[in-house]
Symmetry: C2
Subunit: 172 residues, 2 copies
């Protein structure tokens, strides 16, 4: 009886990617896709690859209250991307990192969504990302880690950069 | 025996918010929060209000493959926010809208995440948002709707605007 193969470590995976990409950075680019379908009220059924999940709005604003709302989901994308990027880059820099928690908070202006005059932006504002790291390394090494994460975290970059969106609408 | 109260319609909810906000736009601002905790491998357990969900990376890149990854989650936030904003603004503009589906696609540059020289941005790029609307209204009315949605959709605004993030790191 042979043991099940271990999953690749993050460093192994990075090494494999590095090998595959070689001298052609374009090979590193993957196309991601998610599908959203409006259900009852404000419930939206979502699919990304093999995963099915949902977004919704609270009953208090006319939703059915069955799932996080899209802005909460965007904040969760930031928090989880930060956490995973800390994990990856700790391995890359050879740091021990025993735990990561990330709290993301933001203001959401319902008035901007509803088109009230005098409102702020529809986008969340005053975004604050509070990261707590656990581990035995000296503080300076975790500062080095944080700098690497700030430079490479995809969803942090999505928040802080203006990313163009091509939008097409068709009527069925 | 009395019937259960109906949930408020979106228009009722908007009317209630309009009443509450009155002449003070600051009352329209709510603070949202999500918490992320690193689990095994790249699994991140997430909480937003009463909702618990997760992000992860595929086994092929060293994750445990149990949930969508953070960039997929960000794309899902955009797709669901578009869908809900179409629903709200169709009511606001008095349009009948029988169905909304939204496909969001984007390039993700793994090389940028891993810090390979010659890579693009860590943020997703070439973002394409394809919206299909079903309903009996003339095309011009759905174009009017799409313009209103582009102006008010929170996560579309988050993608296309540079949103500052205040980041604090503490070591436990």
């Amino acid at each position: 009886m042979s043991a099940a193969p271990s999953p690749p470590t993050i460093r192994d995976a990075v090494a494999a990617t590095r090998q595959k990409v070689g001298d052609d950075p374009a090979r590193a680019v993957v196309r991601l896709r998610t599908d959203a379908r409006m259900g009852d009220g404000t419930r939206v059924d979502l699919r990304a690859g093999a995963f099915e999940f949902a977004a919704d709005e609270p009953v208090s604003v006319g939703g059915t209250g069955t799932a996080p709302n899209p802005v909460q989901m965007a904040l969760a994308a930031l928090g989880s991307c930060q956490a995973i990027t800390y994990r990856y880059w700790a391995e890359e820099l050879g740091l021990r990192l025993d735990g990561v928690t990330v709290t993301v908070e933001a203001n959401f202006d319902t008035g901007a969504f509803f088109g009230f005059p005098g409102s702020g932006t529809p986008a969340p504002s005053a975004v604050r990302c509070s990261v707590t790291l656990e581990g035995p390394e000296p503080a300076a090494r975790y500062e080095e880690l944080a700098a690497a994460v700030d430079e490479h975290c995809p969803v942090l970059d999505l928040f802080t950069r203006a990313v163009p969106v091509e939008r097409a609408v068709t009527t069925a």
